[in-house]
Amino acid sequence: MSYAISAFGLTKRFHRTPVLDGFNLEVPEGGIYALTGRNGAGKTTAIKILMNILAPTAGRCEILGADSRRLGPRELARIGYVSENQEMPGWMTVGFYLDFLRPFYPQWDTALEAELVEQFQLPRGRNLAHLSRGMRMKAALASSLAYRPRAIVLDEPFTGLDALVRDELIEGLLARAENTTILISSHDLAEIESFASHVGYLENGRLQFSESLESLSARFREVALTFEKPRAVPDAWPGHWLIPEAAGNALRFVETQYDAERTPGEARRVFPDAQGIEVNGMTLRAIFLALAKSGRGASV
């Protein structure tokens, strides 16, 4: 499998504070990779290093085959970047901004630009500073899609946006980026789940897991056991079961290695007195919360 974006042992320290510690990443070509993690986990730092905005303390990364430290105009003309904390030239109108950027991109598609402006209902004559947050993100996205980039990097693009704007952004992104590799960092797990192909979870500066969403969804299950009388959580506990909770006659845990045949049998071995076993699928948000609560990642 070839990767459009990769990072190898990326380390970043701000003074003495480590933010990334041996971060590795592989985003398959054409994939939509969601980089998740708590606030301060290092997602934005990783993305800024990838885009050559920050220099790594150690390690390296590549995007579209180019070392990110050597990203020049030619490479950047094929990469889109949209970030929630990007400072845009507020004095420019939307139209002026697009007109200004156009000559820098040999692949700029004026017809596509017009389509995006129409789809996002961007007011060409209004200053970027006077746009709402959602409109500004749309303008940023339009200016990053109009040249049909081969890779798009989005850093928390949905933060603070209402559901309608988020939908519009995702729709616009997916409709115009068919053969494009997308790396997106986001807290909005519910949205990501609807379109991401791969997901990675960053904690303590390391990628705790990285796999396809399909495989992740397949192996995480919430298991609920019922007993005749209240049951405490036993001391001995399989390592791949997370955050056990006992409440009345019920006991719940998260199975991280779910197998339709093995998991019920293992549960019965640990809890021979269980009267009922119920296995439920989990959303990405529920998986993320379970991992965050348990403080586990790589071990699962």
């Binding site: 105009p73 030619r74 950047l76 970047y81 990007q86 400072e87 845009m88 000559p103 820098f104």
Partner: protein
């Protein structure tokens, strides 16, 4: 080149108000100069020479901050133009909107004064180089290590305040700073800032290294303070550059016997340890047209008993009365003065 022109065009559209103010002030200054020279123009116009450098600096700072090199959130960091393109566009803008108008302004002065441009255009170009080095580069360097104009102004004020504070500390202890050749220190200081501006701009635009660039700026401030040349070196420079060959040893300084009989003591400005004396002095064999200025003195007094009082180097200064009598102030040890005050001494 197209990318550079595109960036230049954008800056021209964005910064036309600042550029217009600068160009208007420049034109007004030229007009006022032509109308009122050699007299000072009336009050509002008299401020233009002070406003011009401010307007020029504001334009430059705004130009740099349009795509500021400090920070990691600017839109242009991930757009397909390099910092080299950016620097080239900024240089082009400064040439077109600052250097060229200034050159034309000075050329107009030369022409209206009836001087031939054919003999002066090289001088005018050199003047532009000097102006670029002394005014544009340091301001651009300061703007390049700051994020907005408030930071730039604060950094400039802080830099100035630190230099003044350090200099004033030095003033009280060393005679070196008290000389009458401040232009040498100012020139050395200016040269240091010019020399530091280039690596700062290089680091910011080509290496994206804000911390080292700021460290260089701080280093420049310290270097300016510590770079004061020894008195002898400055004197030597001054003498070498002096248009008139003068042998200082030919000038004789002596006690003015025709002046007042005794040194005048000023106890009211003396301390417990010292007493201020005013010695009537005269200068002989001063070449015609030459002025004398005492920079520093090192008085040595020898009593009849053989006791010697020797001061370190002190700031010198001549007080001249209306009748032409001149006095040199010295600060003498009070105990020595009390012992010898009624006896002859060799000073």
């Amino acid at each position: 080149m197209n990318l550079i022109l595109q960036l230049f065009r954008k800056d021209a559209i964005r910064l036309w108000p600042q550029a217009s103010i600068f160009l208007t002030l420049l034109a007004l200054n030229g007009w006022a100069d032509r109308k009122y020279a050699p007299f000072n123009p009336p009050q509002p116009l008299a401020f233009i020479p002070f406003l011009l450098p401010i307007a020029c600096s504001v334009l430059l700072i705004a130009l740099i901050h349009e795509e500021g090199p400090v920070g990691d959130c600017q839109y242009w960091l991930t757009r397909p133009f390099s910092r080299r393109h950016l620097m080239a566009a900024k240089i082009l803008f400064a040439l077109v909107f600052i250097n060229l108008p200034l050159f034309l302004y000075q050329a107009a002065i030369v022409i209206t004064a009836g001087l031939p441009m054919s003999r002066n255009w090289v001088n005018l170009l050199c003047l532009q180089l000097f102006f670029t080095a002394v005014d544009i580069l340091p301001v651009a360097a300061l703007a390049a290590v700051t994020k907005n104009i408030v930071q730039t102004v604060l950094a400039a004020l802080t830099t100035g305040a630190v230099i003044v504070a350090l200099s004033s500390l030095d003033w009280s202890h060393h005679v070196n700073k008290a000389d009458g050749m401040p232009w040498i220190d100012a020139t050395v200081g200016g040269a240091i800032f010019v020399a530091m501006s280039l690596p700062i701009l290089f680091l910011q635009y080509l290496r994206r290294a804000t911390a080292p660039a700021r460290a260089i700026l701080a280093g420049a401030v310290l270097l300016v303070f510590t770079s004061s040349l020894p008195y002898a070196a400055k004197w030597s420079i001054q003498m070498r550059l002096s248009p008139r060959e003068l042998d200082p040893s030919a000038v004789r300084i002596s006690w003015n016997r025709e002046g007042r009989l005794v040194p005048i003591t000023h106890d009211w400005i003396s301390s417990d340890d010292s007493v201020q004396l005013e010695i009537p002095i005269r200068f002989d064999d001063l070449p015609p047209g030459a002025l004398i200025k005492i920079e520093a003195i090192q008085p040595v007094a020898e009593a009849l008993t053989g006791e010697v009082w020797r001061s370190g180097w002190l700031r010198g200064g001549i007080r001249e009365e209306l009748n032409g009598d001149k006095f040199e102030n010295i600060s003498m040890d009070r105990q020595f003065f009390q012992r010898v005050k009624d006896t002859p001494i060799h000073l």
